[in-house]
C-alpha cells in the first residue's frame, strides 16, 4: 500500500538551503527542539536514574546478604532509614519500590523510547526532525520534573512510596497501613506527569514514522529498530493513559476520600490490579521491543548478512504488540480472580512465546553462515539473545498457572524479570549506546575497555541473578526484608550472600562503562561517518549530524540489511545509493557526509 503515492500528503522539508546554526546556547543544548539533542538529554537523565536505581539495589542486596549488619555508610543516613547503620524495614520497602519504579519508568523506558526513539527515528527514515519538535522538547521537560518529584519522596516525612512498584491497593491507598502518606501521593503524581511526557513523545514518533518517511522508505524497507520503536510507540500511546487514569483514581482515594479501591464502600482492590496490569503487561513489551529491534540491526551488521526472515520479524513485532494486550491476567493468577479467566490468560500467555520464538530463531538464522565481527555492540547484542532466551523461557514456567501457584511472588519471578529486563533490555541498551555513540558524540568509545566491561558484566550478572531461580524454587518470597525470619530460608542464606557479593561486583563493573562513556566524550578517537560500515541512512551523515539532518532529502533504494550482496564488491550498500544502470527513481543525491 505504501508504494502507491496518493499525492494527498503535502511533503516539504525546510532544509533546501545551506544551514547556518545561529541558535543561542540555551536553544541549542537546553531548550532544544533538535531530536538529537533531546535524545542525548534523555540519555543523561536516564543514566542518572539507572545509577540511582542501582544504588538502591545495593542497599537491598546488603540487607539480604548480611541481614542485621550495619550498612557501610549507613550511619550517615537519617534515623528514619537506618538504626545504628542497620537498614530498617521502612527503608527496605521504599528501596524495593523505588528501585523498581526508577528502573522501569525512569531508566529503561526513557533509555529505550526517549533516547533511541528520539535519536534514531528521524535519522533512520530520512526526516529532518520529529513531526512536532516543540512538543518533543516539552516531552523531555515534563519528564524531568516527574523524576525530581519521584526523588523528592525520599526527603519528605514518612519517606518515599513503599508499596512496591506495582502499588497494590489498598496498601498504597491507605497511609495508616504503611506509614507513608506524601511519598505515595508523589508516586501517583509523578507517574501522571511522566505519562504526559510519554504520550507527547509517542504520538510524535507515530506521526513521524507514518508521514515523514523519505521517498523510497516504504514500510518494508524500514529498519527493524524503527518498526519496533513504532509498535512500541503505539503501545505507549495506548497503555500509558490507562496507568494515568488508574493513578488518578488511586490519588483520589489517597487524598479526597473516594472509594474506588476501598472494599468497605464497595470498591474493588482487584480493580487496581486489573488496571495496573492492563497497562503493565504492554509496558513490559515496551521495555523489550525497542531492544529487540536495535539488536536485530546490530546483529545483521556484525554478521555482515541480511536479517533472516525480515518479514516474519516485522510480523512478530506486530504480533507481540497485539497479543500483549490479552495476557495481563497472568500477574494475577493467585489474586483471587475468576479461575476460568485464569485458564484463558494461561493459554494466551503461552501463545505469546510464539512470536518471541520466531525472533530468537531468526537471530540465529542471521548469524548462520555470516562473517561475524565481534565488535563491542555485537557482543552485547549476542548476550541479549542468549540472556533474553533464559528470561523468556522462565516466563513459560509462570505462564503455566498451576506451577505459578508455587512460584508466584518468589525470587523465581525476580530472576525472570531481571533476565528479561537486565539480560534483555539493559544489554540491548549497552549494545545500542556503544553502537550509536560515535554518531551521537562524534567520538569512538574505547573498544578494549568496552570488552572488559562486557565480559565482567556478563559473568557477574549471571552470578547475581541465576541463583535467584533456585531461591524461588525453594519458596523464597520476594520483597521480604529479612529472609532469616523463616526457618526454611535460613539454610539458603549462603546463596543470598553469594548473590549480594556478585551484585556488588556487578555494580562496580558498571563504573567501567561510566568511565568509558564519560572519557570518550572528551578524549575518544574522532569517529568516521560510518564506523561500522552500516547501510542505514544515519551513517551517510557526519558524526554528529548537523541540525536539520539531511542537506537534501535522501532517496531510498532498498532495505537496510543488504550486507554481502552479490551486487556489490563491498559487503554493504547504503540505502540511499542507487543501483547504476537501474535507471529508476529520483536522481542520486549526494549524501551530506561525502
Amino acid at each position: 500500500m505504501a508504494t502507491t503515492a496518493t499525492g494527498t500528503t503535502p511533503f516539504t522539508y525546510d532544509h533546501g538551503h545551506e544551514h547556518v546554526d545561529d541558535r543561542s546556547f540555551i536553544r541549542k543544548y537546553i531548550f532544544s527542539t533538535d531530536h538529537k539533542i533531546i535524545g542525548i538529554q534523555f540519555l543523561i537523565m536516564s543514566l542518572t536514574f539507572l545509577l540511582l536505581g542501582g544504588m538502591l539495589a545495593m542497599v537491598m542486596r546488603w540487607q539480604l546478604g548480611f541481614p542485621g549488619k550495619p550498612l557501610p555508610g549507613g550511619t550517615l543516613l537519617p534515623d528514619t532509614y537506618t538504626s545504628g547503620g542497620v537498614v530498617l524495614p521502612e527503608f527496605y520497602n521504599s528501596a524495593v519500590t523505588m528501585h523498581g519504579t526508577f528502573m522501569v519508568f525512569f531508566a529503561i523506558m526513557p533509555l529505550l523510547v526517549g533516547v533511541f526513539g528520539n535519536y534514531l527515528i528521524p535519522l533512520k527514515i530520512g526526516a529532518p526532525d520529529m513531526a512536532f519538535p516543540r512538543i518533543n522538547m516539552a516531552s523531555f521537560w515534563t519528564a524531568v520534573p516527574a523524576g525530581l518529584l519521584m526523588l523528592a519522596g525520599f526527603f519528605v516525612e514518612g519517606g518515599s512510596a513503599a508499596a512496591g512498584w506495582t502499588s497494590y491497593a489498598p496498601l498504597s491507598a491507605r497511609s495508616d497501613l504503611t506509614g507513608v502518606h506524601l511519598g505515595q501521593i508523589f508516586w501517583c503524581v509523578s507517574l501522571i506527569v511522566l505519562g504526559l511526557s510519554s504520550i507527547m513523545g509517542s504520538f510524535n514518533y507515530i506521526t513521524t514514522v507514518i508521514n515523514l518517511r523519505a521517498p523510497g522508505m516504504n514500510w518494508f524497507r524500514l529498519p527493524l529498530s524503527i518498526w519496533a520503536l513504532f509498535v512500541t510507540a503505539c503501545l505507549v500511546l495506548l497503555a500509558i493513559p490507562v496507568l494515568s487514569g488508574a493513578a488518578i483514581l488511586l490519588l483520589f482515594d489517597q487524598t479526597i476520600g473516594t472509594h474506588f479501591f476501598d472494599p468497605q464502600a464497595g470498591g474493588q482492590p482487584l480493580l487496581w490490579q486489573h488496571l495496573f496490569w492492563f497497562f503493565g503487561h504492554p509496558e513490559v513489551y515496551i521495555l523489550i521491543l525497542p531492544g529487540m529491534g536495535m539488536v536485530s540491526d546490530i546483529i545483521a551488521n556484525g554478521a555482515r548478512k541480511p536479517v533472516f526472515g525480515y518479514t516474519s520479524m516485522v510480523l512478530a513485532i506486530i504480533a507481540i504488540g497485539f497479543l500483549g494486550w490479552g495476557v495481563w491476567g497472568h500477574h494475577m493468577f493467585q489474586s483471587g480472580m475468576n479461575p476460568t479467566l485464569g485458564t484463558t490468560f494461561m493459554i494466551s500467555t503461552l501463545l505469546i512465546a510464539v512470536p518471541s520464538a520466531i525472533k530468537t530463531f531468526n537471530w540465529l538464522g542471521t548469524i548462520w553462515k555470516g562473517q561475524i565481527t565481534f565488535h563491542v555492540p555485537m557482543l552485547h547484542a549476542l548476550a541479549f539473545v542468549s540472556m533474553f532466551v533464559i528470561g523468556g523461557l522462565s516466563g513459560v514456567f509462570m505462564a503455566a498457572s498451576p506451577f505459578d501457584i508455587y512460584i508466584h511472588d518468589t525470587y523465581f519471578i525476580v530472576a525472570h524479570l531481571h533476565y528479561v529486563l537486565f539480560g534483555g533490555s539493559l544489554f540491548a541498551i549497552f549494545a545500542a549506546v556503544t553502537y550509536w555513540y560515535p554518531k551521537m558524540f562524534g567520538r569512538m568509545m574505547n573498544p578494549t575497555v568496552g570488552k572488559v566491561h562486557f565480559w565482567l558484566t556478563l559473568v557477574f550478572y549471571n552470578c547475581t541473578f541465576f541463583p535467584m531461580h533456585q531461591l524461588g524454587l525453594h519458596g523464597h518470597m520476594r520483597r521480604i526484608y529479612d529472609p532469616t525470619q523463616y526457618a526454611f530460608l535460613k539454610d539458603l542464606q549462603p546463596v543470598n550472600t553469594f548473590i549480594s557479593i556478585s551484585a556488588f561486583l556487578l555494580f562496580a563493573t558498571q563504573f567501567i562503562f561510566a568511565a568509558n562513556f564519560i572519557m570518550s566524550w572528551f578524549k575518544g578517537e574522532k569517529a568516521p561517518n560510518n564506523p561500522w560500515l552500516d547501510n542505514g541512512l544515519e551513517w551517510t551523515l557526519p558524526s554528529p549530524p548537523p541540525h536539520g539532518n539531511f542537506a537534501t532529502v535522501p532517496t531510498v533504494y532498498r532495505g537496510p540489511y543488504e550486507y554481502s550482496s552479490p551486487h556489490s564488491d563491498q559487503d554493504y550498500i547504503p540505502q540511499n545509493v542507487p543501483t547504476p544502470g537501474g535507471g529508476y527513481g529520483a536522481p542520486h543525491t549526494q549524501p551530506a557526509g561525502d
Binding site: 511533503f11 476520600g257 472509594h259 464497595g266 470498591g267 551486487h567 564488491d569 545509493v577 557526509g593 561525502d594
Partner: protein
Amino acid sequence: MAHAAAIHTEDVMLPPPAREAGAGVYTEKLGMWIFLGSEVMFFTALIGTYVILRFAHPSSWKNPGEVLNIPVTAVNTFLLICSSVTMVKAFAAVQDGLLRQLRLWLVATCIIGASFVGVQVYEYTHLIEKGFVPSEGLYGSTFYTMTGFHGFHVTMGVICMIYVTLKAFRGKYTQADHRGVEVIGLYWHFVDLVWIILFTIVYLI
C-alpha cells in the same frame, strides 16, 4: 566516503516512489487523531472503572434524578452540542474563505464552551451544598471523577480555543491554510463525543 561501490547488476528491489504515502492527511491532523487515540484510552480507564464498579455494586447508585439535577445538565448538554455546531461552522467558514464568519463562529464557540464549564461549576457547588461529595460512596467517587475530568478537558479546550480565536483575529488562517482550526475542532468534537456517552451513563442510567 567510499560509497562508490561498484554495483554490477540490477537491484532486486522495486524502484522508489516519488514520495512515501503516509496516512494521506497532513501531519498536524494525523498527530491530533493519534493523540485522541490516547485520550480514548484515558477515558477507557475511567469509564471502564465506572462500568465495572457499577456492575459489581449496583446498589451504590441512585435512580436518575434523585441526586443529580437532570434539567440543569440537559441544558448543559444542549450547550455543548451547540458549541460543536458553531465549531464546525467555523471550520466550514474558513474552508470557504469567509474569515469574518470564522471569527464569529469561533467567538461563539469560546463563549458557549466557557458557559458549559460555568454551569458545571454551578452544578458542583449545589451538589456539594446538598452534601453529595466525592467521598460519598462509589456514586460520588465515580460521578466527580468522570465529570470532573471531562470538565477539565473542556477547560483545556476553551483555553486552546481562545488561542485559536486570537490567531484568527490576527488573520493567521486562510482558505489555503487553516490547519489550526481543523485540529482544534477535532479535539473539541471529541470532548463533545465523550460527553454524549457520559451524559447517558452517568445521568440517565
